[in-house]
């Protein structure tokens, strides 16, 4: 009987935690389905009646949210692609090649992980302004790629280390070069590592705020977080549109998390923490 009681408490606490976690998401989801007048009425209607998609429609018609989603997607995929091109060779060198000072080199690559964004943003702004890059994709893609490198190099090094060394030694006896070993032995076996790394890098790019806020001006290059952070209406804060846009911003990442949670948890536990 005693065991059942403690089990009951655990389930009760679990449900409380889940309710606390779901509460803001459900609140925003419910609000996104209300009519404008229902949002701005008290007391609050907890079940929208009638249910309407008007807020979603407004986000795409009154605001350039379609273009902004596309910006986020273009930036995100470019960052993942570029960070693979840059990080895979580095991870390969650190895991497999004969290099002096491996530990200090790794430390140096990891150190930018703790540089807070506001210690870098001013010089980068001056740099991009002088290049006339403000409000372009590249002034987001290049910094995001660079900031993903500590995590990407570190994770990929761990994944390459886990591939049995005998495989490349066999290839080397057959006369394969470093590059050949990377391309024909390592790469095919690196797929799970690339999935985890790619997802984490994409998520990092999808949510980034300070640089996007500073380096972009309008929908030509603005990404989702900046757009959602700066939704203002003429008379009142447009909570319906903010709610609809928030749900749209959450859906891709929530899907990724639900489908790949095991990979992702393993990834952040190995690579430290940065969402």
């Amino acid at each position: 009987m005693k065991i059942n009681l403690s089990r009951l408490i655990i389930v009760f606490v679990a449900i409380l935690l889940a309710l606390f976690t779901l509460f803001p998401i459900v609140w925003v989801l419910v609000s996104s389905l209300k009519t404008r007048s229902a949002i701005f009425s008290t007391p609050i209607e907890w079940i929208p009646n009638p249910i309407t998609l008007a807020s979603y429609q407004e986000v795409f018609t009154y605001r350039p949210f379609g273009r902004i989603i596309m910006n986020s997607i273009i930036v995100g995929f470019s960052v993942v692609f570029l960070s693979f091109i840059v990080a895979i060779p580095a991870a390969y060198a650190l895991a497999r090649l004969r290099i002096k000072w491996k530990i200090p080199i790794l430390m140096l690559i990891l150190s930018p992980y703790i540089f807070p964004a506001h210690t870098l943003v001013a010089p980068l702004y001056l740099l991009f302004r002088s290049l006339e890059w403000i409000n372009t994709y590249q002034c987001l893609i290049i910094p995001y790629t660079s900031f993903s490198l500590p995590l990407a190099v570190w994770l990929l090094t761990i994944y390459i280390n886990a591939i049995p060394k005998e495989l490349d030694e066999a290839a080397r006896i057959d006369g394969a070069s470093n590059l050949k070993v990377l391309l024909s032995i390592i790469m095919p076996l690196l797929k799970p590592g690339l999935v985890t790394t790619g997802l984490l890098v994409f998520m990092g790019s999808w949510v980034e705020f300070m640089y996007a806020l500073t380096f972009t001006v309008n929908e030509q290059a603005q990404t989702i977080p900046v757009a959602i952070g700066s939704f203002y209406g003429r008379y009142a804060i447009p909570w319906g549109e903010i709610s609809a846009a928030s749900i749209i911003a959450i859906i891709p990442l929530a899907t990724i998390i639900i489908l790949f949670q095991r990979y992702l948890i393993k990834g952040i536990l190995q690579g430290g923490l940065k969402g």
Binding site: I10, A18, P116, A122, S146, M210, I228, I242, Q261
Partner: protein, 288 residues
């Protein structure tokens, strides 16, 4: 002489890190020694440590530092407790554990800006959920402007941040829990130790390492937090939630004072660095 081509593989990484991280960091240090007001100056003017002397007497800096410390330590304390509870719950076997885990991880998929807007809406003085719920329950008798008062604004920020990041603490601690060998518990059970005793004498001591790791990571991140605070309160009301990162950012881009902004950023960075070192020291001492 044969060149070792292995180093070429590291070249792109270092090139990018240099341009986008190391160079800007050094440049910020350099700008902190200069007067550089973008409204009228073309070039920064070297003024030595002047910005730092101004900073020491700047009341806004002191209040920002205070806000940063309150935000950091309260948030992390709440998160450590919530995270520990999450880890203990997820470590148990019960029907529906998979669903609960998926739900608890969801905030990870919520961008900080969205998190901020959600909670800003919830705390809204007229149409927000908190007022409605508390009013219906009879806890408050009139709607409150939570984000317009210094103490409740800080509390609202802390709720939002703890909501978003407790699960990271939870996952790290869960990893720690799962690495504790099952036989230890079995042996203690044979010796007649109850649930509470096993928790205090086995779980807590062996969880120390994971605990300090989570504590260090979260403290540093909270100390440098920007996104959610900027969107939710923008540092207000009356500067009460203007943490150092926001103070630095506003000094750059609101007042276009890049010299003084850099000075604030550098001091903030160094303080965070010292904080990290203190934790790492603590970790070493505790592990010995």
């Amino acid at each position: 002489m044969k060149i070792n081509t292995s180093y070429f593989y590291l070249l792109p990484t270092f090139l990018l890190l240099f341009i986008v991280s190391f160079y800007p960091l050094l440049r910020t240090f350099q700008l902190s020694l200069a007067e550089y007001d973008l409204t009228y100056m073309k070039e920064p003017k070297f003024i030595g440590l002047n910005n730092y002397f101004i900073l020491l007497k700047d009341e806004n800096f002191i209040t920002s530092l205070y806000a940063t410390l309150i935000f950091t330590f309260t948030t992390v304390a709440v998160e450590m407790i919530l995270g520990l509870i999450m880890a203990l719950v997820l470590n148990e076997n019960f029907l529906g554990r998979g669903i609960i885990r998926t739900i608890l991880i969801l905030p990870w998929g919520v961008p900080a800006v969205v998190e901020a807007q959600m909670w800003k809406f919830i705390y809204n003085d007229r149409y927000g959920a908190i007022n409605d719920i508390l009013y219906r329950l009879g806890i408050i008798h009139e709607y409150k402007a939570w984000l317009a008062k210094p103490d409740t604004a800080m509390m609202a920020l802390i709720t939002a941040e703890a909501w978003a990041t407790s699960i990271f603490v939870g996952l790290i601690l869960l990893g720690g829990l799962q690495s504790i060998p099952e036989d230890l518990y079995e042996a203690a059970k044979v010796d007649g130790a109850g649930r509470m005793k096993r928790f205090i004498y086995i779980t807590l001591p062996l969880l120390k390492y994971a605990f300090v790791v989570a504590l260090t990571f979260r403290t540093i991140q909270a100390f440098f937090a920007f996104d959610a605070i900027y969107v939710m309160t923008g540092g207000g009301p009356g500067g009460s939630t203007r943490v150092l990162s926001i103070y630095a950012y506003d000094t750059y881009f609101k007042y276009l004072n890049f010299g003084y902004g850099s000075c604030i950023a550098v001091v903030h960075f160094i303080l965070g660095f010292i904080l990290a070192l203190l934790y790492l020291r603590m970790m070493k001492i505790r592990l010995e």
